[in-house]
Structures are given as C-alpha cells and as structure tokens.
Symmetry: C2
Subunit: 405 residues, 2 copies
C-alpha cells in the first residue's frame, strides 16, 4: 500500500493495525465500497508473521470452546473461496495447502485424550478417521515407531500467514486502500463519537468509522473511553522454522499435530521447504524473550514424534504474543462508542478466523450490525458486563482517558 | 589494526589468519622485534568467536591425549602472566575469570567415568577434589537434585575469547603490527623458499617468513607445495549464548561441566551476565548449519544439570568449525618449505593453547626452531611421514600446486 504522509483526506474507515485481521477488514470493507486507510507502525503484523497457519478446527477442538469451534468451522469452510478470490484479486499466492492434518498420540494416555476429543468433534459434526500407529506411519513414514495411533482430519488444512499477509496487502491496495506507516497516538472522540485518529507524526486522519485491530497492542490506543476495550493478555508462543535441504522431500507431507505425554506440538510443512515447529503457550505478560526452555520444549516434543527433525537446519526462531480476551473469544464489530469498532482478541485462532472476520467486519461497517454467525463475539458484550458507574466503567465520554493495562 | 591497501612494504612476517592463534603469533612476534602484517578476510576469527573459552586441562583430560594435556597445563599456567601483560599493553580486558571448574556426573555411570579420569589426572600431576552431590550443590545451588557428585578443579579457569581477540588485536597494533582485510589468493614460493603472499585484490605482500594460521581454512591456501600442510578436518560445534536478566546473579558461579548419560555439556559464565552452553562435536565436513538436533542436544543436557537455564533468554546461537589435524595435535613452527610456518590444527584447545602457541611461534620465527616444550607438535612431523615421491608427496617446489582437500 502507498505509505502516505501525515496530511490525509477524510476516509470512510481507518483501520489501526496491519496484521491479518486489520488487513482482511480493510480489504473486505474496500470491496464493499468504503474508502479505507490502514495505519500501523509496521505494515507487517507481529503475531501474524509468527503464526504457523493451521486451519484446524477439528484437531483444535477442546471442551468448553464449542462456540469458538463453530465459528472456526464456518471460517474454515470459507477458506477455499476466500483464497481463490484473494489470489485472483491480488495476483499473490496465499500458500494454501489442502492435505489435511494428522493428529497423533505418543503414549496410551495421549491416545485416550484424543479419543475423548473425537467424541467432542462428533458432537460438532466433524468427522475424523481413527488410525492405528501403523496406519499413521503409512501416511507419514518419518513418524517415530512409538507413536500409538491418531486421527486423520481430512478437512483441516493450512495457509502460509506471511504469504497471506502479502496477498491481503496487495488486494487491499488494488481496492484503493491506503497504508500509513505511523503509530497511532490517540483516538479522536467528539460529541461521544469516534471521528478518526491522531498520529505520532502529528497528523490526523478523519474517518467516519475507526476499527482497532492491533492485536495485544489494541488496549494501548489512548483516548478510548474506559470500559470499551477490555484488557487483552499476551499469550506468548515460541516456535522454530526449520528448512529442508535443497531438493529434499519435506519430512512430513501434511500438518502433523501430536500430544507427547500431554504436551501439544505441531509440524506444519510449506511448499517452500520450510517446516514450522511449535509452539509454547505461556502467560507471562509482554515478554518476547526467546528462552532456552521454550526452544527445548518444542524441540523435545517434535523430536519424540519425528526424530528426523534433528537433521534439519534451524532457519529462524520466533516469538509472538497471541491476544487473549477475558473470555478467550474475539471482540468484533461496534462498541458502545458510535463509530468505533473492534476486531481483536483472536487468541490462537487469528489465521483460521481471518475470512469470517473480514466478512463480519465488512457487514458491521456497512450496516452497523454484525451478521448472526458473529453476534456472539460482539465487542459490546464487554461494556455490557461492566455496570455503569463502577470503577473504570463510567459513562462513555471523549477526551483524555486512561488506557487499559 | 590499520586496514591497509594492496601495496605493502616488505615485512619480516606475514601471518595469514586473525583468530586467536594468528593474533597471538602476530603480537608475540612483534614483541620480539619483528615487523608483522596480519592478513585475513575478516579480522575476527570464526572458530575463535564461537569458542566458550574454557581453560580446563584437568577436566578436559582424556586417555590417549596425555601429551596434549601436558601442553595444556603449561599453557594454562602461563595464562595469569599472559593476561596481565596483554591487558597492560592493550588496555583491554580479556575477560579472564579464576573461579575454577566444577565437573559433575548425572548418574552413577557418569560418576564412574569421572572417577577413571581422576586417576588419569593424578598421573598428570593435576589435583582435583572429589565432592558428593550435596557438596556440589553447596558450591552451585542451581544444580539439579539428581546430580550424583563431581570434582572441583580449582585451577581450571576461563577467558572470554571475544574479549581476548579484541585485546590481542589492540596489543598487536600497539606493537606496530599491520592488519590487511583481504583474502590470500596464494603463497609466493621462489627458489624453494616462501617469499610472501598474493592477495585477492591483486596486491602482494613480500615477507621474510609466512605463518599460516587460518584454522580449517589453512589447507585451502594455494601455492603451498604438496605434503607440507596436511588436511584439517572441520569438527562442528553448535552452542548457545544465554543472557541473565538485568541485575540477576549468574545461574552458575563458575564453569560447570557435566556428563549426562555419557554426553558432555558445559555452562561457562561471563562477567557480562552471559552463560555459554555447549557444545556438539560433529564430523560432517564444511557444514555450518545450525540444526534442530544440535540445539536440542545441548539444551537437553544443560537442562538435566541446571534446570533453571530454561528461564534464561537465548541471546545467540553459534556454529563453529574446530580444526582437527590427522593426529588431533597442533601443527606448529617451521615446515619443509624454508620461510613457511604453520600455527594450526588446535582442534578443541585453541583458547587454552593461545599463550604457549604465541611463545613457541615467536621463538620459531626468531631462532628458526621451536622450544622443547612444543617440539612434539612440529609441523614437519607431517612431511616426515609422507615418503618422498609418494603420491601427493613429491619434492618441495614453488609454483602452481594443488591444494590439500
């Protein structure tokens, strides 16, 4: 996107954040005929560039998250058409791969746990095929002999989030979206309505509507009335990117997820010869240190499942912060402040939820309301929970406000 | 050192290579009154910048390497005076630490193996103190409860090889040594005598004597008559540099070496808050890939000995190639080509052997012969072994020659 100077003509929508969620919102809003400006300090989104890109609601299913999983299934089912349209419009590959996912168990306790999850999947209408250890190794010959068995989720695919970011950026640009490389100093609220943003460079962008889509940095945007944006806790993930030697076939043919003595690990292959190994899940605040223990944990479990990873080159080590909302569900659409929307709190599911979030946000920006399938995740559910007049939850006003921390 | 253009005035000695061995040779030769030029593509030495810097002949002692260990003890004993003189002359700290080394065993097999090595040490005149697991933990409280026991080597210290490189460079410069940042294209041999080197930039440096001290790259210098420089095999080491959080005391107070189910691992603390974890020992040719298995192995063993390393930040991952000669012993002093010296093949001991190598090379360059204590490592032992007229071992001549591979 064009990187614009500080002086901006008014725009229908300003999106704060240029990760997958910000860019899909920008592209879909532009497709719906709105003029859009995206503001971000870096036009790459931090968590989006770290993510492995699994589109795996079936093998991700866990108890207590059924609503999230239904949204995930809906978004996953939109992926093929979404990618086709995106690649057509952008001319850029999104790195979508439709080989399914093999979920395997290291010992009998792990297998028992996968069995329970398969019952949950059945209740959600997802079918996966139970396989013996031998059948797993027939699909993925590099699996360790000790792997006890698993489940094949034929519909759980993957995408390359870095490629997807590039495609979304190109597509948004083709639809006339403007990119501004700057930090947002604060939201402008006048007469109780969001009117745009002030930039660090001193410029201001006037907009009919503002979407905050800045991952874990979303609550740090100043000038937002209290009670409107909840705290988002950073959930740290550490992972490694390995590289196959030139001309060597990938060590796994499809995404392999495993439970190793209760500890989850995954290997996601790319067409480029890259294999993503991940990931830790740590709640330690805004800590982006790569640690000895984080690397060790991922390498240990990956080595148990696929011993041959030891021979592969480490191309990159990454740390990202997943944005977790208080109820671990995303925050979408209009807030209690007219003109202010959220598209945040996607936690571990940002890549999977990208198509459905783009559609839902475009509808919210054009009609003022979320579609039915996204209503559960309405950003207003947070403000509703905070009684008026309670500490930190006063009436919605403009001007100087504390930020959430 | 001054980085000089291609045109050079003649010099007494040209040293090829600017790692610890090249620089200590340059400094000591300059101290002895010789004019010295150091040529290297990078003025940092590759293996020297990766090395952990243990000065540990006692805890390094292994069967079949008694002669190496005697040279190591001699060099270790010179370290305090060497560092004092170097720091005085350079004004730069070499990061020398005199806290000793604790060598520990993870299980009873490891303890039995350390016991055998302690008998070898006794034969070499090295005293180490046997400690129980509890006594080890009293010295190093972060050791795992499972550590069975160990030995304290009160005289086995450490130095920071990167700091030492900087100090040697500054000291050599103060003694008038000149640094040239270029690749050596070939050795010049005229009338059977080494006369200098031709540089990649096209320039030539005429010198009375030439020292090849380029680690594993030493045999790749062209123009050296066959049979003079043996092949040096690269022995790959992978290690990690961890970083203590600001203000936190180091996780170990001294070098801790361990055997974990037969696998050696070490943790070397620095005054800067850095902890070096190492190292793999792999014979794979000129392979400098960081691998998943290499990182995993080091992290696994370090975690077994000192579980708290998990919390530490990974500041850097490194791969280096140790130069191993055919008999694993260094190659020092005059070769069969008059005017051509070697200072190479230091394998795992380059940092430890630095002071003794500098002294021995200065003596060889001024008197033409190695001192007694270094004679066993004479570079000529290689040429002597290759019968004249045998394939690859013809008479010494100048001109175009194949390089060893």
């Amino acid at each position: 996107m064009r990187a614009n100077p500080s002086s901006q003509s008014p725009t229908d929508v300003v999106v704060v954040g240029a990760g997958l969620i910000g860019l899909v919102t920008a592209w879909r809003a532009a497709c719906a005929g709105l003029s859009v400006t995206v503001v971000a300090e870096h036009l790459d989104g931090a968590a989006s560039t770290v993510a492995a890109g699994m589109l795996t609601p079936a093998t991700e299913a866990s108890f207590g998250e059924e609503a999230l999983m239904r949204f995930g299934i809906l978004s996953r089912d939109r992926y093929p058409a979404f990618v086709a349209e995106l690649e057509e419009e952008s001319g850029v590959s999104a790195g979508y791969r439709a080989e399914g996912t093999l979920q395997v168990a290291f010992d009998s306790d792990d297998m028992a746990r996968l069995g329970h999850l398969s019952e949950l999947r059945a209740r959600l209408g997802l079918t996966t095929e139970r396989l013996t250890g031998r059948e797993c190794r027939r699909l993925e010959p590099m699996l360790a002999p000790s792997v006890r068995g698993g489940y094949l989720a034929a519909e759980d695919h993957s995408v390359d989030p870095r490629a997807l970011l590039g495609a979304l950026r190109a597509a948004a640009e083709r639809r006339g979206a403007v990119g501004v490389r700057d930090r947002v100093r604060r939201l402008v609220v006048e007469d109780g309505r969001a009117r745009g943003v002030v930039l660090d460079s001193g410029g201001e962008i006037s907009a009919g509507q503002v979407v905050l889509a800045a991952g874990v940095a979303t609550p740090a945007v100043e000038g937002v009335p209290e009670g409107v944006v909840p705290p988002l806790r950073p959930v740290k993930g550490q992972l490694l990117r390995l590289r196959m030697a030139e001309g060597e076939p990938p060590i796994v043919a499809r995404t392999v997820r495993g439970l190793v003595k209760g500890s989850p690990v995954y290997l996601v292959p790319r067409g480029t010869g890259e294999i993503v190994l991940g990931a830790t899940q740590e709640e330690q605040g805004f800590d982006t240190r790569l640690t000895a223990g984080g690397l060790w944990e991922v390498l240990r479990d990956a080595h148990e499942l696929v011993p041959g990873v030891s021979e592969l080159e480490v191309a990159e080590t990454c740390v990202g912060l997943r944005p977790g909302s208080p109820d671990n569900e995303p925050l979408l659409g209009p807030t209690a402040v007219p003109g202010l929307h959220l598209a945040a709190g996607h936690f571990r599911h940002g890549v999977l939820f990208t198509p459905a979030t783009g559609d839902a946000m475009a509808e919210a920006l054009t009609t003022g309301a979320l579609p039915d399938y996204a209503r559960r995740f309405a950003a207003t559910r947070v403000a509703d929970r905070i009684p008026a007049g309670a500490a930190g939850g006063g009436p919605i006003e403009g001007g100087e406000q504390d930020q959430w921390t």
